[in-house]
């Protein structure tokens, strides 16, 4: 029983939710402990074949390598900036591997692990951060939208896309090859945005097949989660009229199981779910950020003990699900991926200057064509000169 405070305005929230959510609280769904011990949950559980477990490990190691290489490439001046995902590998791989081909994903700018699961060439993730494009993959080819920088905006796109699926008759038919859903990725900071809250309202109102997947990494650049919310984020869903769950975002098994269940609910026509993947941003917000200015290294050290990859490695080894040859092969693959990214990134050509006039509209307008032609003539006027632009 929750004690009623004297005010009469319902339960004392501090008592309901406790003074701290450091461990994720009692509602945290977990299937693999930080120590690598498999635990079970009465409602959410999945039997994982050994091969799938090894796959999770490989996905997470390779995703971390993409992140590490990209961070290094930024330090070497090859990327202008990079949004790191260090520590969030399990949340992203669990969410990414729960998808079916017909599902659709709307990412933020940090979903490199989900992109990996969707088969987006990792090299293409670098283009935005190198400044050579604004996302060069074909969203329709992988059912993976372009990265969205404006915080939370994509949650509305995801909801609208899901409303389109409803109108296309691909929700609740009972055909597993046909029924589809959408995952909207966002973070704890985005949960304060109007667009995210409006997306919740639209999705609830139309019962849209969308999973709102919030990676609560505890930090919105320098601002802690306490600045965004006075209650656990997953609890907000109830106020919008759909279920919310909190999963250990550093536990790839639990994240997979929870996301899969939420996706299935959506595909079945039962509407949206909010999944709060409780995790921690081990790195900086981006390579331009300096977290030592605003957070304690104690916190980071404590979260290191919850590393998403280490616990799977322990689990695989302890149960004999993978041998040394497997771990060596993944390490080799990661090295190769790193080399491919390094070489590929440096070889990415700058875009042609004239390309900035392309695709503003489906057909170039006369006035824009005039500007383009004028600029081309201007550049040509330098050709043959001792110094100048051109290409």
């Amino acid at each position: 029983m929750t004690k009623q405070p004297a005010s009469g305005f319902g339960p004392d929230l501090a008592e309901v939710f406790g003074p701290s959510q450091q461990d994720g609280g009692p509602e945290l769904i977990q299937l693999l402990t930080p120590e690598g011990e498999r635990v079970h949950h009465p409602d959410i559980d999945v039997d994982f074949p050994e091969e799938q477990l090894r796959g999770f490990y490989r996905d997470m190691v390779l995703t971390r390598r993409i992140d590490t290489e990209a961070t290094a490439l930024q330090r070497h001046g090859e990327l202008g900036i990079w949004a790191q995902l260090l520590g969030q590998e399990a949340a992203q791989i669990g969410a990414g591997r729960a998808l079916r081909p017909q599902d659709y994903v709307f990412p933020t700018y940090r979903e490199h692990g989900v992109a990996w699961c969707r088969g987006v060439d990792p090299l293409k993730l670098l283009g935005l951060f190198r400044g050579v494009d604004q996302g060069s993959w074909d969203p329709g080819a992988n059912n993976f939208a372009l990265y969205t920088i404006v915080i939370g905006a994509q949650c509305l796109h995801a909801t609208g896309y899901a409303m389109g699926m409803q109108r296309d008759g691909v929700v609740g038919t009972g055909d597993p090859e046909r029924d589809a859903a959408v995952v909207a990725h966002f973070g704890d900071g985005a949960s304060s945005q109007g667009d995210v809250n409006e997306a919740f309202i639209f999705a609830a109102s139309y019962n849209a097949p969308v999973v709102f997947f919030c990676q609560n990494n505890q930090w919105a650049i320098s601002e802690p989660i306490e600045r965004q919310s006075r209650i656990p984020l997953y609890q907000r869903a109830l106020g919008f009229g759909f279920p919310g769950v909190r999963v250990d975002g550093n536990d790839v098994l639990a994240t997979y199981a929870v996301t899969q269940a939420a996706l299935q609910r959506a595909r079945d026509g039962q509407g949206p779910t909010l999944v709060e993947a409780y995790t921690y941003r081990m790195g900086a917000h981006t390579t331009t950020d300096d977290p030592t200015r605003y957070r304690l290294s104690d916190d980071v050290e404590r979260w290191k003990l919850k590393d998403p990859i280490a616990r799977v490695e322990v689990y695989l080894k302890r149960n004999g699900f993978a041998d040394e040859a497997f771990f060596d092969s993944v390490a080799d693959e990661a090295d190769q991926l790193g080399a491919t990214l390094r070489e590929g990134c440096k070889a990415m050509p700058d875009p042609e200057p004239m390309s900035m006039f392309d695709h503003v509209y489906s057909e170039m307008t006369e006035e824009l064509a005039a500007q383009r032609d004028g600029y081309a003539a201007y550049l040509e006027s330098f050709e043959g000169a001792a110094v100048g632009g051109g290409h």
Partner: protein, 326 residues
């Protein structure tokens, strides 16, 4: 077949036709269903096309436009209604950052065939935020196209053409004209292309440019001027982005004088851009500086003052006389 229609009816008929021709066309907005919109522009459409195609939305403009982005990405052609001009601003981020840039940033892979209908302008005695003219803010944004209809026949054709466009179109409707005048619609003729301006009255002394609600005012001014022996050429711009400067430049080269009229604030309004382009391209034809007539650079006033604020026949004629005085 010909019939006499109001602007509201023309838009309603155009929307209906677009929905009949393409099952991917959806309408979404606040009160667009049973009510038929606060101006009744979508009257009867939900009854005939169902709640899946004529969607009453939650009361959230960013949500309307943002979900329409997702629908467009899924292959639909959403037509969203913003209830009043002053309520478009919550959706401004989605329009400017997402709608306008999607085709560009995806290098043409993601099209954004969306129409955002906005009743705009004043003159209906409304409370604040219901009489604004935000067109320049959208015309300033690459990736958007911006058009304004001025009469029932254009309303019928232009809304269909905007819906057929693969680019996002901000579609401005002069709300004070919705139920004002009737015009004869012959739906067997071939309409002018959407992104073209049109000479609606020929003249020799001064070129007067207008769009949306000001076309009617300027036409009345031209009649009054004619009675005083002054010949005004009136151009309905129709498209604000891209601008169709051809007919404008042709006209100004003949008259040597130009006046641009709009309800929007003069500072950095459409008139400023049009004036710059005329000056750049017809400098030696000009007998007078290009003059602007518009709303003052003050917030839209309480409605009892709107007749003072809005450019009327006399202020247009005053500007014409000023132009002729050079």
């Amino acid at each position: 077949m010909t019939q006499k229609i109001t602007l509201a009816k023309g838009l309603n008929m155009g929307l209906r036709k677009a929905m009949e021709n393409d099952p991917k066309v959806l309408i979404m907005g606040e009160d667009v269903g049973k009510l038929g919109g606060v101006f009744r522009i979508t009257d009867g459409l939900q009854k005939d096309f169902g709640e899946d195609r004529v969607i009453d939305s939650p009361l959230a403009e960013s949500g309307i436009v943002g979900t329409a982005v997702g629908m467009a990405l899924r292959g639909y052609r959403p037509v969203v209604e913003i209830q009043f001009d002053g309520f478009v601003y919550p959706a401004y981020d989605q329009i400017v950052c997402q709608v306008a840039k999607m085709h560009f940033r995806s290098q043409g892979k993601s099209k954004m065939p969306m129409v955002i209908r906005i009743p705009f302008g004043g003159g209906i005695g409304a409370v604040e935020h219901h009489s604004e003219s935000p067109e320049a803010q959208f015309a300033h944004t690459p990736g958007l196209k911006v058009v304004a209809c001025s009469n029932p026949v254009d309303g019928y054709w232009m809304i269909q053409q905007a819906i057929a466009s693969d680019d996002p179109v901000i579609f401005l409707e002069p709300k004070r004209q919705y139920h004002a005048d009737k015009a004869e619609l012959d739906d067997t003729v071939t309409p002018d292309p959407l992104f073209t301006s049109r000479v609606v009255r020929t003249g020799t002394d001064v070129t007067v440019l207008a769009y949306g609600p000001m076309v009617k005012t300027v036409m009345r001014a031209a009649e009054a001027a004619a009675s005083e022996g002054k010949s005004l050429e009136v151009i309905d711009l129709r498209t604000l982005s891209p601008l169709d400067m051809g007919p404008v430049l042709d006209s100004v080269r003949r008259t040597g004088r130009a006046v641009v009229a709009h309800e929007a604030h003069v500072n950095l309004g459409m008139g400023a851009e049009i004036s710059a382009r005329i000056t750049e391209q017809c400098f030696y034809s000009l007998e007078a500086p290009v003059l602007r007539v518009g709303g003052f650079d003050a917030p839209y006033p309480p409605s009892r003052l709107e007749e003072n604020y809005l450019p009327d026949l006399d202020r247009v004629l005053d500007a014409v006389d000023h132009s002729l005085s050079f």
